[in-house]
Amino acid sequence: MQQNDPFIKSILEDPDGVIVFSIDKSYRYTFFSSSYRRLIDSRFDAKINIGDNILDALKKSLDRKKTQDLLDRGLKGESFTSEAKYTDMISGGKIYQINYRPVKNEQGELIGLTAWMNDIYPERQAILEKTDIQAAYHLLIENTTDAIFVMQAEGDIGKIVSANKTAAEMHGYSYEEFLTLHVEDLDTKEEQERFDERLAKLMNGSILSFEVNHQKKDGTIFPLEVTTMMMNLDGQKLTLSINRDITERKEIVEAVRDRERFIESITNSSPDIIYVFDFATRRNIYTNRPMGHMLGFTSEEILEMNSKSFPSLLHPEDYEALAGKLDRWKTATDDDVIETHFRMKCKSGSWKWFVARDTVFKRDKKGNVIQTVGTAQDRTDSKNSEINLRQSEERFKRLQEASFGGIGIHDNAKIIDANQGLAIITGYSIEELIGMDGLLLVTSEYREHVTHKIRTGYELPYDVVGLKKDGTHYHLEIQAKNIPYQNKVVRVTEFRDISERKQIEESIREQNVRLGDIADNLTRKNEQLEEFTQIVSHNLRAPVGNIITLLSLYDQAPDEERKEFIQHLHNSSNLLLGTLNELNEVLKIKQSKRIETQRLDFKQVFNNVCQMLNMRIEELGAEINTDFEKLPSIQYPNIYLESILLNLLSNALKYHSPTRKPKIRITTYVEAKNSMLTIEDNGLGINLDKYGHQIFKMRKTFHEHPESRGLGLFLIKNQIESMGGEISLSSIVDKGTTFYVKLAG
């Protein structure tokens, strides 16, 4: 042996060199490499030398018996390979392949053996691992909920060559069907258009992840998330796709997005600023619109402004209020709303008022508030209108001072404000008016009326009688309106002194009465005119017609009848003349606008009339009683009173009963302020049912009486009415008649 040969030595002594040993038939080491010696040393804690028994060196080995058997097989001349597992702290697990080889001398006699040991652990491990991964992959691929398939990336590009069952199920195909498909069968039209672009990227070696829409066998389209890569298999270019059905995820995402959009649309539609303030960063982590926009800044300007400059926009007087708010959160409950009023400076330099209302949004585990949610509202207008209101109140005050009418504002009837106009109208001073019961400004009989108007909120003008401080009454028009004022309703009342208007109204009313009288008078005149037509038509035409006829017959009349003709002509002419005279009398009454009146003694006028009728009275032996005690005299036209008495008395005498002596009674008296005259007789009487309507008409007679001409009543009726009086009668046939004359009012 040339153990000392430096070349051989370098091989045997190399620490990472071959592991080899040899023994003789009596188990003594004849040779070993330094790697073997180190292995035995480290494994079994044995320092070995040439000539040592191997069985002694391996006495700590658990596999000593097994090793001796293997050594014995080798010493019997067998050449074989075995494996041994070693594990140690330094090198980790090792698997040694040991090749036993018998050693013979030149004579061919067996003298010992050599054993070569090779560490095959890494190799074996790789094999072991490879087997496990394939099994795992298979399980994974077949059981995953993702669709996995492989398609050709060259030749028939897109042809599916391999797939898992999920891929087929996901697309609604059977597994066998799916393997015959092409990617075009899965991609929607839109996806097909992108295919080339994607393929190009894959060819560059990228692994692509994207969302894609596939269509199922039944045509329904669903979204997938795809991860795809290029791979080389047996020199063929393929693409591997892992596809996840994300329909549900999409729906959830969509729902979340809807919700976000909903909240966003609410917050965006709000004119207020809505924000979430984070205490750690001292910033709004959410806001629907930056406050800067409300102050007139652009988004760029807001970005430029850092958070430090923003508080500088805060009005210095309001800084403390906002700073103090942070302390208040320490004790705030979730239900608390903290309100702060503050001003911010606009880009234009003017100030805007904001009202912020914040409440707890999030607390940490210890319960400290870490985020708040709040709204900030631009209240500049209402703040300004408060100021404006104050100014307009001032203006109103001046206005109502300048008003000509009286204005009073009252609350529950108590006057809380009044203008100078009201003071002038009522005679009270403004100081006296304020605090006074407004009802005292109207007379007591109108207070209930006014109270009712107040209670019902009546807003139209109405008239009452006003009461001045000095007690005088005056016509007053009131118009009031309920007006909300400082959280209550007050009544603003305007007072208008309408005495003058009332006077005008009064005179108009009087004029209306006069006009009515005139109209009545005209109507009466018209009626009288109609009567005239009748008179002209009948009472004048009749006698004239007779005269004409008589004259025409006269020539042929025999002599003995001519005397009769003359008599008729005479009567007719007399009648004509009489009628003309009577008409003249009536016309006189109608024409005289104002006949002179004088104080007349009834007794005296009566005596005059009696003298005129003296013969008739005596002839009939009539008994006439008078009673002028109650009304002895009257202011009246003499000829009218004479005419009235003469006609009524002669009427009473004329229509006396043939069976009774005429008894006539004349009375004057006052009834309801009217001067009355009655003449009562016991004569024939008149059937009023039959003739009542035409008694006072001209040329009406109701008795078959020779002297009846009927014009008298018409005449005196005209006379009486021209003096504003009336005439009426009551009568019972064969008992008598009473005429009632209202001479004057």
Partner: protein, 141 residues
Amino acid sequence: MIEENNSQPVIAVIDDDSVYQFTASRTLKATKLTNEILQFPNGQEALNFLHSHASDPNKLPDIIFLDINMPITDGWMFLDEFRKSKGEFAKKMRIYMVSSSIDPRDLNRAKSSPEVEDYVEKPISLNKFSELLENFGLTEL
């Protein structure tokens, strides 16, 4: 003497105006178309006569000249009464309203009364009477 001339109509003149009664009867006689003229000073007396001879066609007039304005019972009142008892009379009588009134209301009222044949204005001439009486003869044929 009246019965001798049965073909001539019996005339009634109802009027309170005695002068008119006189001239009317003279004129009627002058027509030579009638010889029998009944005269009534008012409607009441005329009605009394008609009622008492209601069933005697020889006594009842053929033509009545009725004045409007009369005392006691005027022309209108007469018409009212006449209308009520028309059925009782044994003879159809023709009524002419007569008046010197030129009041259109009287004219209209007369024209609208079915019992009234016509309205005749006073005074009535000989020719007018002749015409009215001749008319009667024609209708009888």
